[in-house]
Each structure stands twice: as C-alpha cells, then as structure tokens.
C-alpha cells in the first residue's frame, strides 16, 4: 500500500485524500494514517512544487558543481557534506562515484552570486580540493516532467 501511495503522490501531491483513497480502492482513514506515519518516519520528506521559473520572467541561475574533497579522519565524507549542505544557498548535495566526490546544486539570482558563493564559501573550505562549476543553460526535463512543451491531446474522435 505504501508503495502505491508513494508512487501516486510522487507525481501528484495535491490530490485530495478522499480522492486518493477512491483511486487506490482503500479506506480514506488508511491513506491518512499511512501518510502521517510516513511523514513521521521521514519517508515523505516534503511536498514541493515543480516550477518553470523562466516562464515567470524571474531571473534564476542554477549551477551543478563538481567538488573534490579530502574526507576527514574518522568522519568520512559525511562531515564534509554537512559543512556544505548547511549553507542555505545549497539545494542538493550528492555523494557520487566517478572522477569527483560531491555533486552540489546551487541556486542563485545571478551568475555572480553563484560564483561568489563558490569562490568565497565553498572553495575555501579546508577539505575542498577543487571545484568545477557547470551552469544550467536550459531545463528540458525535471522530476520526470518535460518542461519545454505543453502536453496536448491530439487524438481525434473516431466513429465512434
């Protein structure tokens, strides 16, 4: 049941709980209690909105920053990650395999703001060896949703 609820609300978190219960074919009380439990257990960590800021005309810059670090003795990467993710400018931090250690997403109003964060906050950290900043030029698809085109129903009414 949990998987079904999660699969559904991952795509549509705004659905009315009564409707969700109908769609899944279970009692509303069950849906409510499961959701509550999953929120408490932090399985559900938040309900966010996917926004195409470009269309609002508000300037936003997002950068993906590759970060190489030296893990701290006894702490591994977690301590370093914490230093990085505590900055409110940081959107996401992933430990990854490959040529570098962390992938950090930063959102700012201008290129300058982001660059400044990297040069003044991120790079000077003791354990950070190097950074490489990649600015996002265009978002095509995010969270499984294509951003560049409106979905259109082009089916025609056959007889019948």
């Amino acid at each position: 049941m949990r998987e079904k609820i999660l699969t559904f609300i991952e795509k549509n978190s705004r659905i009315d709980l009564k409707e969700l219960a109908v769609v899944l074919g279970v009692d509303e009380a069950l849906v409510v209690s499961e959701l509550q439990k999953m929120e408490e257990e932090h399985i559900i960590c938040g309900y966010h909105t996917l926004i195409d800021w470009d269309k609002v005309g508000i300037e936003k810059v997002t950068a993906l920053i590759e970060v190489r670090v030296t893990p701290q003795r006894g702490m591994g990467f977690d301590k370093v990650a914490e230093r990085i993710y505590n900055y409110p400018e940081v959107n996401s931090v992933y430990l990854i395999s490959g040529g570098f250690d962390f992938m950090v997403t930063i959102e700012g109003k201008t290129l300058r703001e982001v660059s400044q964060f990297v040069s003044e906050k991120l790079s000077p950290l003791d354990s950070v060896l190097s950074t490489k900043t990649n600015f996002i030029l265009k978002k095509y698809k995010d969270h499984g949703t294509v951003m560049t085109e409106l979905p259109k129903d082009e089916r025609i009414q056959m007889i019948p």
Partner: protein
Amino acid sequence: MRDPLNKTIVGIQPSGIRKFFDIVNEMKDAISLGVGEPDFDTPWHIRDEGIYSLEKGKTHYTSNAGLKELKIEVNQFLNRRYGLSYDYEHEIMITVGGSEAIDIAMRVMLDPGDEVLIPQPSYVSYLPCAVLANGVPVVIELKAENEFRLTPEELEAAITPKTKLLVLPFPNNPTGAVMEKSDLEKIAEVVKKHDIFVLSDEIYSELTYLDKHVSIASLPGMRERTVVINGFSKSHAMTGWRLGYACGPRVILEQMLKVHQYAIMCAPTTSQYAAVEALRNGDEDVAAMREEYDGRRRYLMHRFREMGLECFEPFGAFYVFPCIKEFGMSSEEFATELLNAQKLAVVPGTAFGDCGEGFIRISYAYSLDNLKKAMDRMEAFIRELRKG
C-alpha cells in the same frame, strides 16, 4: 452512365452519429470523454525500436504472415498470459490492426447466407464486416441486468440451422463487461453442441481489473473452433502503428493468410519491429497503464454513486456505461443536451447498437484531472435535469 457501385456496400448505413462528433470536434472548450484509444503515448523503448529499425534500413516487406520473431513473441505472450499455445508457423498471422483480422476472418469463414451472431452493444465493425462477407448479421441484445455478459440462454435462443459464427467481443467496448471463466464455459458448451465457430475479439484482454482475462480458446475443445483476435493498440498504447494478430486453427489461418497476402501483402514493417520490443520488454508498461486505468475506473464509479447515477461496475477495457433512463431522454438527446449545456462530450449508447438506448459510453482514457472536471460538469447537468 451505369451505376459504378456495389449494391451491398451502398446499402451499408454510414454511422448516424457522425454529425454529433463533427460538432464535438468543432467545439473549442469542450471536454470530451468520447475517444476510444489510450491517452498514453507508446512507451519510449518501443518507439525507439521502431526508429532503430528504420535507421538499420528495415524498410522492406516482411513475409506475408509477419516477422518470424514477432510471431514467436506473440505465441509466448499468449502462453504466459492466457495459457494459449499456437504453432507460430501456421497458426499465427500479423495483421493491420485487429480490424483487418476481423474482416478477413469473416470473409474466410462465411458463405452467403450464413448467420453471424453479434452481441450488442459492441464495437461497430462486426456488423458491416459480416455484411461485406455476404453473411447475415444476427444481433443478440445483451442486458444490463446480466452486466452485459452473454448468457447461454441468449445464445441458444439466437442459434438457427444457418448459424455459422459467434462474435465474442470481451472485454467489451462500450460496456466494459468481461466474461469470466465460468461464463465462458457455459457459452463453450452451447457452441460445441451446435457446432458453430467463435471469433473472439480480445483486443482489450490486457485491461481487466478483477481477474486475469480468460480466452475462450483456452477451454477444452474450443481451440479448434476459435479464431482469437488481439493486437497492440490497447495493451501497449500503439493504435497508430496499426498492428494486430489472429491466431487459430491452421485450416482457417491458411485461408486468412491468402486474403491478407493478396489484399495487404504484410503488416507495416516498422510496427512489427516495435512490437517485438513491446512483447519482449513491455509487460511492466502494460501493468502500469492497467493500474492507472483502474484508479480512474474506481474514481468514475465513485462519482456515479455520489450522483446517484445507475451504473454496473465494469471490470474491463476503459469504458463505463452508465444508465440514463431515469431522465426520460434518448441517449442521443442526452448526449446532445450534455454537450450544449456543459460542453461535455460522451458517446450515446445507441452508437453501439439499438440496445444501447438508455445508456452512454464514457471513456476513461483521460487523465484524472480531466475526468474530475468532466464529472463536475456531469453532476451539474444531472442536478439541473432532476430539478425538472
């Protein structure tokens, strides 16, 4: 000048509700629940295989009966899903949609004057195809109180010495009715007793919501007297690829292949390569779409209950078939009024046979958001009608 036309074909009535749909297609802000094809696009990995086949220059004819690997996959699919088993070399052919298979199966099985039993409400092609094959269509009117299943009594009552073929359209468009194994067993007894054949149109077989679909061909003694028709349109959301198949005894399939060979040559090659991928790696897509349809189906039934609109719970395809008799209007009047008053398009039940009178077909091949808006409009419309 002489009359250039064939009298049988001229005699076939064009669909009476074309005008209604012309209005629907013109109306800009209308919400339609009329379309009978999946709202999902074909899963990408299937489309990708089609594209890849083009890149590799697979742009030629295939053999008449279809790609060998596709026929093998069809057989394996039918086996793992419904326990059917065919000789892919002689008992399976790939067609241009299930529609072609319906047409040629009738042409191959009917002699002039042979009667074809067609349960209605049902898909609109059976009747004209029977006429085009010089058969005599005999309609069996299914009843709401039987949840639009075919009963052995109804079948028995329609059989005459001239009866040759029974069309079995389940899961059903437009009612959403399914035939369970116990229902089919009784039908099979009557079929065998009277030595008639079955054309089992199972195009919606992957879309059932109670139990797995049962094919009548899987029942004892039925394989040799059944042509199973299926395809990719509904299960894999591949309507535009125009790809279906027919399976049945070699003696029938050989003749069908002959007609297909002279009239069609072979089904579209690109589609066939895509379909191989659909059957090899598409089960999860089918399951996901089924799950999605099922949620919408439950939602619609819930809304009908709230509105107090009578509707038996359908367990197949992607249609519901609520009863609108309480409003004292014909199906077509109801649909027209609903379109005018609320800009909501549904299909009058009579489009699928006279016994569809008093019902409307609602398709749930639409997003939940769409269905929600549509049901709000429906509810407002019904409230007004009940005020009188």
